[in-house]
Structure formats: structure tokens, C-alpha cells
Symmetry: C2
Subunit: 468 residues, 2 copies
Amino acid sequence: MDYLALGDSNEVNFKYQQIYDGIKEKVLKGKLKAREKLPSKRQLADELKVSVNTIANAYEQLLAEGYIYTIERKGYFIENITKFSDQEEGINKLPADLKEDDASEEDWLSLSHMSADISLFPFKEWMKCENKAVDKQKKELSELGHPQGPYLTRNTISRMIALTRGVVCEPEQIVIGAGTQLLIQQIMGIQNKKSIIAIEDPGYFRFYRLLNKMGFSVNPIQLDDKGIDIKEVESSHANFIFVTPSHQFPTGKIMPITRRIELLNWAAEADNRYIIEDDYDSEFKYETNNIPSLQSLDRNHSVIYTGTFSKTLLPGTRISYMVLPPDLLREYRKHHSDLMQFSNSLGLYTLHYFIENGGYSRHIKRMNHHYEMKRRVLIEQLRTKFNHQVCIQDIPAGLHLLVQFKSNKTYDEVEACAKEERLEIYTLRRFMLKNQNQANEWIELVIGFANIHESEIPEALDKLYRII
Amino acid sequence: MDYLALGDSNEVNFKYQQIYDGIKEKVLKGKLKAREKLPSKRQLADELKVSVNTIANAYEQLLAEGYIYTIERKGYFIENITKFSDQEEGINKLPADLKEDDASEEDWLSLSHMSADISLFPFKEWMKCENKAVDKQKKELSELGHPQGPYLTRNTISRMIALTRGVVCEPEQIVIGAGTQLLIQQIMGIQNKKSIIAIEDPGYFRFYRLLNKMGFSVNPIQLDDKGIDIKEVESSHANFIFVTPSHQFPTGKIMPITRRIELLNWAAEADNRYIIEDDYDSEFKYETNNIPSLQSLDRNHSVIYTGTFSKTLLPGTRISYMVLPPDLLREYRKHHSDLMQFSNSLGLYTLHYFIENGGYSRHIKRMNHHYEMKRRVLIEQLRTKFNHQVCIQDIPAGLHLLVQFKSNKTYDEVEACAKEERLEIYTLRRFMLKNQNQANEWIELVIGFANIHESEIPEALDKLYRII
């Protein structure tokens, strides 16, 4: 019997491969029968004119994979292998509908709110911190580490947000995760499925869909001039409220102190009421100072505070955190003892050093200045270009604006035109959770300015003008 | 009225802070009443002997936060603020049971299977690749990116696993995620909750608990000499099987070809039957070559293949991936259109260059050699030290061994002793999912050798000897 697979190279490795593949194929196709004896290593080596070693390696491999067995002093034999029930070769081509669109988006301009300007990111400084982490955290980096993230980094974050956001917490209360979405999923995953959730409308549709999918009853609540309508919250019988008080997403409004207190009072009125404060872009505040978090006013341990580094570092950095009130922390630890930390540990230690040596706050300061300039240019040019046809919610915070344009077009038409013009832009409709009706004669757009270069603004506005 | 908060610094910033804090406090405590007029900026500036600018800044900030309002040409007035319903200051001390144990684990020795030896990790080379990614992927790094991970990296992974594991797939079929746990959760989250799952016993208890928590009926299936018992699988009516064919976790057994074919035949017999192949440490194979994956033999698109970089890069790198059959990919995309990529994007591009320039395979080769040596030393010393009291499952693969010791101790006693001896070691009981009974006179331990230094092995075995 010819034990070789097809091919005729004389190289040792190829010979080995041919022998191994050859026997394997013959076993699978039933050409070598169960319990059939293979030639001895020496015999086959002579026959094929290769070294005994080459044969020995092939036999060892076939043995490890269970194609053959060996009986001491008797030699090697073919295993009794189950036959494939379906000998037809599967079609391995990917169906066309699953192919990814390779159309380059290179020449698109973007007014998306979901990006960041990384041109000023201090990569060198970051990598210095990375080097330091590699140097100092050898032991920690070789292990899986704490599920809530390294204590060192949690400690640094807790001290930083105490200063910048007035957040009152111990490092123990911080849970670091690879994104706010994931953290929300973790903390809501341990809540009673009968919980009722109130969420701002317009608001962050990803959380809306996530919570819906998790089986909760989620109530989009209209905003009044101060933010989420507390009376509507009450009549919804919600026990969780999701809010963005520092810079409402997407309208940009800052929740005034009186509504904040109303929310906290609502939470204090009954057990098991919680407010989730998503502080997604509070690092960027122009003209006035940062506004203290809602958590800083909380006296009843009823606020779950969430923050992220996606807006200040790279968007794909995937470092977010939440601050849990003690009762929820206890529950969290009970349920998630098996959970792993999903954020990159080297990145977390790097972040610690980056904050500690002041690099982070210097970067934030630089970016605040940079974004403030860009924002001002964008607003000026919008006003010049659209004149009385535009109404801008000029709230000096964050990385996006809500802008109204006079137009007779529908959202569908605007979205189609934007595609043609190759301009990435999102309409308010995307964030309207319940009622997607359009105001008469007005188009509302959520315009992000993080990732557009100042010099590209005129071109982007030309496109926008044609779209609207 | 004194508008200042306590403190007497004359520095501008402190003055600003005192004015701002002072008014805020008085509003919250009701000492400044709703609609009360504040002094004009000039008036207050004169009174407090500070610049008008300092007052203007404080008023602007209070305005932004909603403590005061302004009427053009009339001045600034106190807002009508809701009172806190509960004026008691919450106790902000963390309850003692939530405090984290600060006891240093510095002097412990570890025979854990959950770590890696990073002393040989080529950090310099990795960082070079990182620099390259920063340089070449500027645009991609400023955006959120594809939920399955960058196409570039998926393409590189698909080519690599085709070569090393025989995995047949297109980059479209790869979903990158921040850990296998998370990926399993994503793909199982879209399955019918009535699905029945068969899982190896002993096996990976984290998956077992995760799937149980997700609401599935999960059946631990005993292993026979070839691996998971196919007859037991059939009688459990399972439609999903979780297996670790390359190196069964934790027994270390390699599933022979005949059982692999039996599993594939089982999957082909009915619709909606899937095998999840967790290839968690297949990169490490000593003496013989890598064993092709189960997926490589699949002709019916019924294998979900999962792999990870946690064993080969840093354990906290958090880059894993799964390969989905086309039907499941279609479902996945439908359900997870809102999902984000949770793995660090810079890390993913760095990995692409690290694989592309050969750094990755060089590192694997180096580590194979290194671990093989360490493994051999460990086995030799175990045999010398314990002589006839030890039985080692010597399967030349992976980063851990299953070892049986003759002993009259119970698992509880062994675990307590290990704590006293400050040796991190895991008993087989941890991985026994259904029946946690102990074999008479035998203690079985899962001994990892990745993170212990060769020179520490004698000390670790001394500890082990005293424990057993």
C-alpha cells in the first residue's frame, strides 16, 4: 500500500507531512481498516527512503490524534474510527448577504457625535506610562486580576472624580469595565426583571434597546425645560431612572439644581429606587466650570454614577467605570464572583500612571481649548451659512450640538441626501424613543464636531446646505 | 448678607470659590430665598474687594447650574429651588464587609492554571507594533469601529488559524471580543432559552454557572476514556455541546479522532445542533505537533470555534474570538447591531502587526520551548518527591497537569492547608460540576506551571508535600 499523500518533495518536513496526511486520509476514507497493522517504523523508512525519525514523528502525531494505536512490542495498528455520517463536503463559501461591504469611506466627512479628535493625543506620554506599567506591574500583569479592575487604578479614579466631579466614593465602590453598555448590563442583570425603568426621550437609544432586550419595562419620558419630567416618572411607577444631567444626550441641556433635588427626593421616597447618572462627556465644559455630578448631592446612596474614558482617550480604549452604592455593590459581588475584568489590564495600569503624573489632566485641558475653538468656528459658520434658517442650542459643553434647520424635507429625505453627499450626520429621529413625529418645517440634527478638521467645516456645511 | 463661604484666602481663585460656594450653600439651606435679588456684579465686587470678573465668573457658574436666574437689565435673582426631602447627611463610610482585604499576596507561590509567564514577553516588539498602529490607523482609532472588531485583524486571525488550527473560515465569520466568557454570553444570548446544553464534567465551571444563570438547562456529562460521553449527550436531549477537544479542561486529555467524528455526526443528525469548541490553550503542544481543530473536520457548519490570546499574550489582554457558522452569524448580526466592540482597538491593530511581522509565532515558539522545559522539571521533581504516591496524567500539551496524590485528607483539609502554606493551588473539586465526591485515598489537583519560576519549584513542592 502506498502510505504517502500526493506530492513529491524530498524535503524532510514535506515527507513527514505526506506520510502523516497520507495515512490520515486513508484511515478517514476507510482504505486502511480498523486493527490493520502498519509497517514497522524501520520497514516504512526503508521503503520510503526517509529516516526512521521522520516515520516515528508521523506515527507519534497520528497516535496523539487517535488515528492509530500501539501495542508494546507488537507495533502500530489502525484505530476503529467512526465513519462520518455525511461524507459530502460542505460548501465553504460565505453566503453573499454576509459579505462585508468593502466600499471605502475614506472620502466621507463626518459630523458624527461618536468620534474623538485624536490628533492631539499624547501617544508618546501614554506609551511612557505603558512602559512604566510594564516595569512596575510585572506580577499583576501575569495574573487575571480583580474582577472590578486593579485597586490601584480604582483608587486613582476615585480621587480624580472626587476632585473634578464631586463624586463621593471609596475605590471599593468602583467597577471598571470595557464600556458603559457592558456595566449597565451587569448591574441591571441582577435586578428584579419586574423593575420599571424611566429613560430620557430623546435619549440614548442603545441603552433603551439593551434594557428592552433584557426584559425590563422601559418608559421613554419626555423632557420639559428642566429635563426629565418627574411627574411622568412618578406616574410610570418606575424604580430606575436613566439620566444625563451634566449634558443631556442628545439635546445638550444641563439639568438645573432644582430638578436634581427633585430626582433625589423621588429616590429617597421609597426603597429600591435608583438613579443612573450617565456622565458620558462631562470632561468638556466651556466658558463655565464643570458642574458637580448628581451623585455629589446624593444623601441616600441612590445614585449609580457612570463615567467613561472613551471621549478623552481613544474611542476604542474601552475603559468605563461605575460607582455603586454599598447595597448594590454587595449584590454585585454576590452575583458576579465569577465575572472577569474585560478591560485590558495593561491599559488600566497605564491609565493609572497617566492620571498620576498629570498627563491626563493636561490632555483634558488642551482638548477643552481645542474643542472650544472648533465649536465656536462651527457655530459661527452655521449662523453665516444658514442665517435665519438655523436655531442652535448653544450650551457650552460636550462634543455635540443640537441644531434645528428650517426645511420642508422629511428625515428620510435628509438621510438619503446625506448618503449621496457622503456626509456622516445623525438626525434627532435616531434618538427619539417613542414618538418619532417630525416638527413641522424643522429638521433637527445632532452635530458632533470632535472629529472634523477645522479646515473641513466649510465643505461639510456646503454639503449640509445642499442636504437641507 | 455675607455672600462668602468660610475661608480667608485672598487669592483670586479662592475668592471665586468662596463666593460660588457661599451663595450655593445659602440657596440650598434656604438662607437666600426664591426670587431674592442678588447685588449687582459691581456692587458685590466693591463690597468684597475683588474684581468684577471674579463675581461675573461665579454668577455665570451659578446660572449654568440653575441656582440663580437673570432678567435682562434687571440683574440676578435666586431660583425657586426644591428642598431636599431628607436633610440628614448620609453616612458615607463604606460598610466593613465591603472593604477589600489588603493582605499582600506577595510571598505566596502559585501553581494556578490561570496565569502566564510574561517574563519572556517581547514588550519592545509589541510596542513597536503599537507605534506602527498609531502611525497607520489614525482614522480608525478616532472612530468606534466595527462591532466584530477591525476587518484587518479578523483577516489576519483567520489566515493564522487556518494555518495553525486548520480552521476554515472567512474574516466575516470572526467575532472578536474582550474574553471568551463575553462571546459565549453574546452568542448564547440569542438562542432559544429552551435549548439544552451538554458540558464536560469535570469542566470549566465559569461557563457552567454563566449558562445556568442565563436560564438554560445545562447538563454536566461524565467523561469516558475518549472524552465527553456521546450516549449521555444523546439521552440528555441537548442541542449544544461545550467541549475542549484539543486539551480537555481540566483533565488534559486529547479527544481522539473517532470521538470527534461521533460528535460531528451527532450534530449532523438534526437541525440546530451545535458544538462549541473551546480551543483555550492549543498553542502549547509539546513533543508532537498541533492537533487540528474539530472545526477543521466540520462539514455541516455546526461548530462554533473559540480561541483566545490570554494564554499567549498577557492574561489581561482581553482579546478572544469566535468563528461563527454562516447561519449563526446572520442571527448574531440581526440581534447585535447595537453592540460595540469591547476589546481595545489599539490592542487589536497592534496584534495585527505583531502577527503579520512574525513576532507572534516567534513568541509562541519561544514559549513552547520554555514551558516544555518547566513542565519536564516539574514532573521530574513531582516523581522524585512523591515517588509512588503520585500519578501524573502526562499529556504533552497546555499549561497545566492533572495530578493524583495518595492522601487521606479531604479536599477541605487540603484547601485549608494550602492557605496556611501560602500556596495557590486548585483541587479538581472546583471543576467537578455535578458530583463532588472524592475518590478514596486520592487527592486530585490541577497544577499550573505557567507562572512559577523554575527555581521556585522545589519550595512549592515542599509546601505541597506538607499539604498532602
